[in-house]
């Protein structure tokens, strides 16, 4: 996972008493190059808390060649406008290996990533 622009990803607690997790703030795109994990995932789950501030988060998924795996004809939907102010688990599964993720949001806490 890396942020664009670089260095804009921080760690912070989403709720009082919670340990720090990744905090993605306005103007930052979080990119996950899954092709560098050591294996090619066919299923990925992101767990996050969107504060509801600013634009709703959107997440797109691509294969290793950069071709979109969601949102197109016959493809599963990409993540858009998930519930805010609660923990959300979003799972994406594909017969094709998932190469990268791109998450655009204004104020979101990413707590966990699951690969399968």
């Amino acid at each position: 996972m890396s942020a664009v622009p670089a260095g804009t990803l921080t760690a912070a607690s989403p709720l009082e008493g919670a340990p720090p997790v990744l905090h993605v703030q306005a103007g930052t795109t979080l990119r996950g190059q899954l092709s560098g994990l050591g294996c090619d995932p066919g299923q990925v789950q992101l767990n996050f808390w969107d504060t509801g501030t600013g634009r709703p988060p959107t997440l797109t998924v691509s294969n290793a060649g950069g071709r979109a795996l969601c949102g197109g004809p016959g493809q599963p939907a990409c993540l858009s406008d998930p519930a805010s102010r609660r923990w959300v688990s979003w799972t994406f599964a594909s017969a094709e290996s998932i190469g990268s993720l791109s998450l655009m949001c204004d104020d979101l806490y990413l707590s966990g990533v699951v690969i399968q």
């Binding site: 996972m1 340990p19 050591g38 294996c39 299923q43 789950q45």
Partner: protein, 176 residues
Amino acid sequence: MPRIRATLQPSAIALTGILLAWTVCGCAKPAFRNVLAPGDDTHVEIDDPTGVDTWSVLTRSEADVAVVRLTEGTADVGAVTIRVLLPGGVVVAQLSPPRGQQFSLALSGRPATWTLQFRLAEGQAARVRYRLVIERPSASVGGPRCADALRAKGITAWVTSVARPPGARGLVFPGL
């Protein structure tokens, strides 16, 4: 009489201190009562349709990996759903094991007390029995697909949660 009181007082204070310490330890313990460590092998039963079976597993560093294996001879691990949390109710994973006799979950990325909540899957009738075995991942190497690479290590799904922005290598799944 006053002399007796004078000799009893330090003992009473010491006894009070011991009782207080015991009480504090006793109060602090329930949150960690169901902590499982590598090598532990526990038989579990959910006999209440709304019941939640809660266990904790520790990872001691960013590189530490704990594997939680659900298994039981003829049981179906698809009968339960699993929620993984960090302290403060932070949800890091929600998983529905597919029907089968085994499902293994790896936890890594930070030193933490991970809480695992097992519930009956929707439409599943109580009672459900299974075994929880805590292990380290195998060093075996599988195929290029994560499903195969993880299976070779005895893992079905790998959960990572980090406490700070990843370095140049990005998210690391130790040993993968």
